[in-house]
Amino acid sequence: METRNGERQANGLAVEAAGLVKVYGKERAVDGVDLVIPKGTVYGFLGPNGAGKTTTIRMLATLIQPDSGSATIFGHDLKTESAAIKSRISLTGQYASIDEDLTGIENLVLISRLMGYTVKEAKLRAAELLSAFGLENAAKRQVKKYSGGMRRRIDIAASIVVTPDLLFLDEPTTGLDPRSRNQVWEIVRALVQTGTTVLLTTQNLEEADQLADRIAVINQGKIIAEGTSSELKASVGTGTLNVQLLDSADQAQATAILEHKLNVAVHVSTDGLTLSAPAKDSSIVAEALGELGKEKIGISDFALGRPSLDEVFLTLTGQSASDQPIEEENS
């Protein structure tokens, strides 16, 4: 894997942050975030709206200054070496970071010129990007007339006019249909393949699972869990028990039995028929199911499986975030 920029690659980290804090008024938008992101990986920030994902990214991209804490990007200090950082990074914001009144090609030529290409080189580069991103036919159309997927692609294209060493993607697929989303995923994978580090935020668990080597789950400005997708799943328990009731009238009693036997909080679906709970030990699960049978509670289905990321997320954020933060130790 070639390094596009040779200097200061010693520790092999793209991002290293300690205790990042950003306060807006009374709200601690980011409340002590630590990060270690190795080069050439995809790192996912997973969290609901307002969790602090975007604020963290904006700090790391030199757009806003942290109130406390420190960070280095490729070894460059965030506070004192922002110029060096800017030449290595690129940001695709949550909202189109391009001029919607201009055409696709005009936007890419503009950004290319601002990256240092001559006018002639900029035109070549813009054409190359448009064709690689399937936007040739839309080159001369104003971006405001693009579909959501096309807009996202031109936005990412603008971010990789010069392939960045670190690319920030803020909710790159929010609002896209599945096919457009797959195209964005394809682009992210291609970038990583050539050595770019990607830091992306998402509310979509499948996306984090699909793309990210490591995931940080963020809630209320804090990282409440961190690790690979499977580590996160393991941290919740060996699996999750899902019980499908025949009659929602049994729900309260069934919940009480499961909570007693498994000694955990049981999550009830909105229709009141599906109970799910983290399960650490399958023999206890068997006992709990037996107890349900004894009480003549009708079950249409049950399953014990490795937890999905959705369940991880629910387990982690369902409880009040400050209550029992699950902090993963990773080697």
């Binding site: 596009r4 200054q65 940001l91 503009l110 080189e121 991103f133 399937g134």
Partner: protein
């Protein structure tokens, strides 16, 4: 997304992202001139795509000149012809000063959309984003001046300073407007919405332009008001422009415009850039 777009056949063209990965050659960041020219080019493209934004520099001058000449001419100077001689340089100053506020509005729009963030993460000389736009604004101001002077000539305006006097006057206006615009760029960063920015701009621009020597001779005003009118930057500019157009200008008048312009730039350009960098 709208239905019309969903049927768009280009929406699902194949992507070949690997073809888009640039080679190892990374261009050096552009110098200040190159990035300024790129931003100026963007501003020109915006005029091409959003021609409505030229209304302020084409229709405003025409309406203002006709309105004030025929509405006030008889009352203030006794005849419209005579009043035009007095009024045109002043109302040219007023019109161009007022349209400077659109610079701030454009910037404010950039901030609320995402492109401002992209510009700020580029390895460029940051002021070029504003200087490039302001240079194109100078073209807009020139156009407004040309339209207004052209119409004035048709209506009977006869500048005694001749062609050189008129050109000199326009140059002085352009210098002042470029400098004055930095107030609006700073305000454009501070204000949260286009609406509030417009309101603040009007609050500043209307008193400044009306409480000046643009419409009336200050000697007719009460003395406390005269004091303000005489130090009002708009009056200082209008005096110099009048002098140049009518061929009786002094270097001192021009010198004051240069001083006032320099003060605007020295205060508001660094302030704008400070706010631009720190904007959250």
């Amino acid at each position: 997304m709208s239905v019309q777009i969903e049927h768009d056949k280009t929406a699902y063209e194949e992507v070949h992202p690997l073809n888009a990965i640039a080679g190892s050659k990374r261009p050096d960041p552009p110098n200040a001139l190159a990035s300024t020219m790129a931003f100026a080019h963007r501003a020109l493209l915006r005029i091409k795509h959003v021609p409505e934004q030229m209304f302020d520099v084409t229709l405003f001058p025409i309406i203002f000149l006709l309105m004030f000449t025929y509405l006030f001419g008889g009352a203030i100077a006794g005849s419209t012809g005579e009043y035009l001689q007095f009024l045109l340089p002043g109302i040219l100053v007023m019109t161009v000063s007022q349209i400077t506020m659109y610079t701030g509005i454009d910037l404010n729009n950039d901030i609320r959309k995402g492109i401002f963030d992209r510009f700020r993460t580029l390895p460029i000389w940051l002021p070029s984003a504003l200087v490039g736009a302001l240079l194109v604004d100078v073209i807009r101001y020139s156009l407004a001046s040309a339209i207004m002077i052209g119409l004035g000539l048709v209506l009977g305006f006869r500048p005694e300073g001749g062609v050189m006097g008129v050109l000199g006057a326009v140059l002085v206006i352009l210098l002042f407007s470029f400098s004055f615009s930095w107030i609006w760029t700073a305000a454009g960063i501070i204000m949260r919405s286009e609406k509030s920015l417009m309101m603040v701009s009007f609050l500043v621009v209307f008193p400044l332009t009306f409480v000046s020597n643009v419409f009336v001779d200050p000697s007719t005003l009460p003395s406390w008001l005269q004091g303000f009118v005489n130090i009002n930057p708009i009056s200082i500019l209008a005096t110099a422009v009048r002098g140049l157009m009518h061929g009786d200008g002094t270097w001192e008048q021009i010198g004051w415009v240069v001083v006032v312009s320099a003060i605007f730039v020295v205060i508001f350009a660094p302030l704008t850039m400070y706010l631009y960098r720190r904007k959250e």
